[in-house]
């Protein structure tokens, strides 16, 4: 175990990316270097348009970097893989399939009995028992996002990528979802890369917060959150980290 956890799980090496927009080249990512340990919860925090989602799409295998590379367990990422599941902000679950069928999506080649057990266990874990036959349309936003998390967890991936997964939810549901994701993360010990523009969200969730500057996205700093879960949002430590993150983002939050 110790030899494995010493080796980083995900390594970003000199990632740069630009887009061509109306004859103009927009550099969105500039020389990103980052190592993520196995089982670590890392938040990518930055203002809109800083390239944090692009970075997640690159590590997810959906987009290609112009230069540099991403390796996972030493292997270069060349495309998406069912070992590493992406949770999208705008529901990536299939509206034409029931909750059960959505969660079973990645378990197509498992034997029937194992599949049934895994699907049921995962649905129970995210708190959707009783909604197995429901369709996404009949669920609230928070429940849809639980389905998507369950779909990812069911295949027991090494890494989970989350691209502002709670961005479309109301603030109370968002808080609940955060504590749920921490509960599941502590139970399953997956490596999680989580993109957000919400400072509080990043402090509540992450072991480390990677702050990206605005375009072109560069790593401004990496802030360790050394607090135990459940985290006390009123503690001086929390306030100190929050101030540091706002400072790095270059905004004055005392409105």
């Amino acid at each position: 175990m110790s030899s494995q956890s010493n080796r980083p799980k995900v390594v970003f090496e000199r990632i740069s990316k630009s887009f061509l927009k109306r004859e103009e080249t927009l550099q969105v990512l500039d020389d990103i270097n980052l190592e993520v340990a196995d089982g670590e919860f890392v938040c990518l925090l930055g203002p809109s348009g800083c390239g944090k989602s692009t970075l997640l799409n690159i590590v997810g295998g959906f987009e290609k970097a112009d230069s540099g590379r991403v390796t996972i367990d030493g292997e270069e990422v060349t495309g998406p893989s069912s070992r590493r599941i992406f949770v999208f902000q705008e529901y990536g679950i299939f509206p034409w399939a029931s909750v059960w069928d959505n969660v079973a999506l990645g378990l197509r080649d498992r034997p029937e009995s194992e599949r049934r057990r895994l699907v049921q266990d995962t649905i129970d874990m995210v708190g959707l028992s009783g909604f197995e036959r429901s369709y996404p349309m009949e669920l609230s936003g928070g429940m849809k996002q639980r389905v998507e998390v369950a779909r990812a967890l069911a295949v027991s991936p090494d890494v989970i990528y989350m691209d502002e997964p709670f961005g479309a939810l109301d603030s109370l549901t968002r808080l609940t979802m955060r504590s749920e994701i921490i509960r599941i993360w502590e139970q399953e010990k997956k490596t999680i890369l989580f993109v957000t523009h919400d400072v509080d969200e990043s402090i509540q969730l992450a072991d480390r917060v990677v702050v990206l500057s605005s375009r072109p996205g560069r790593i401004a700093d990496i802030v360790e959150v050394g607090m135990q879960h459940p985290r006390d949002l009123g503690s001086p430590e929390y306030g100190r980290i929050k101030n540091r993150l706002y400072e790095l983002l270059g905004v004055n939050h005392s409105v």
Binding site: G92, P95, A97, R108, M137
Partner: protein
């Protein structure tokens, strides 16, 4: 005695005015009925004051309707039309949906075929009648061919558009979970496109029903279109023409109601309710 359409006019206006004060679920029925009755009265007024004596009145049309309903002719001609529409339509579904899925999904195929599809699409099926008759003679074959042609393009173009509209997150989800080949089509491409495909089927069936009547009027020896032509040719029986038109409209409504039932399945409802 006061003529019926005067009474009907007063009654329809009364219903129209009163319906505003009724509960919404009753108003939903009463309001269109009042307009329909007003239209019926207007038809009779037009016969009194505007149209010539050949134009049938509502009463003449009703008795012509009873006349044809009692005859075998109506049934055999309706069945002839429906037979051609059914075959042509299902052939178009069977070819149009798979081809549309393929063209919509494969960028290369789309580039190769789309200009040809767009070039053939504006040619009215009616313009094909001479060739249809040349190739299939007067009979069901020509009708089926024309209906196939008429419904094929709405289905094909609708399916292509539906596939090309599949959201990026669903495509990426499919890739993330390693879906490929037949499974990709069965689990993602087809179900994602289905709501829009069903809409294209509705349009296609509507067009098919319009086209079959026209085709039968010009180039066939049976069917409801032929019945209309026949009624006019044998002594200007415009009352029979109007009655047949009512039957055509009625069957068209029933066909649309039938195909709309496809929209109620759980697997496709998401595609209609969000908009």
């Amino acid at each position: 005695m006061i003529p019926w359409h005067y009474i009907l006019t007063v009654l329809a206006i009364g219903l129209f005015v009163c319906s505003g004060r009724l509960p919404a679920r009753i108003e939903r029925f009463i309001l269109p009925i009042s307009i329909g009755l007003l239209g019926l009265a207007a038809w009779q007024f037009a016969c009194d004051f505007v149209f010539d004596e050949y134009t049938p009145t509502p009463g003449q049309t009703a008795s012509a309707f009873l006349e044809i309903v009692g005859s075998n002719r109506l049934w055999s001609d309706s069945i002839a039309s429906l037979y051609r529409v059914t075959w042509g339509f299902f052939l178009a579904v069977g070819l149009g949906i798979p081809l549309g899925l393929w063209v919509g999904w494969s960028a290369r195929t789309f580039t190769a075929l789309n200009p040809i599809i767009q070039g053939l699409r504006p040619i009215s099926p009616i313009a094909w009648i001479p060739f249809a008759i040349l190739w299939f003679n007067i009979g069901d074959g020509a009708g089926i061919y024309l209906i196939f042609y008429a419904s094929f393009f709405p289905i094909l173009v609708g399916t292509i558009a539906a596939v090309r509209n599949i959201s990026l997150v669903h495509q990426r989800s499919a890739r993330n979970f390693g879906l490929t080949g037949v499974e990709l089509f069965r689990r993602v491409v087809l179900p994602a496109a289905m709501p829009q495909i069903i809409t294209s089927l509705r349009i296609a069936l509507g067009v098919a029903w319009l086209v079959i009547v026209a085709a039968e009027m010009v180039g066939m020896a049976s069917g409801l279109g032929y019945l209309i032509n026949d009624a006019r040719n044998m002594g200007n029986r415009y009352d029979l023409v109007a009655a047949t038109m009512l039957v055509i409209g009625g069957i068209g409504i029933v066909l649309d109601l039938l195909i709309r039932r496809l929209e109620n399945f759980d697997e496709v409802r998401w595609g209609y309710e969000r908009r």
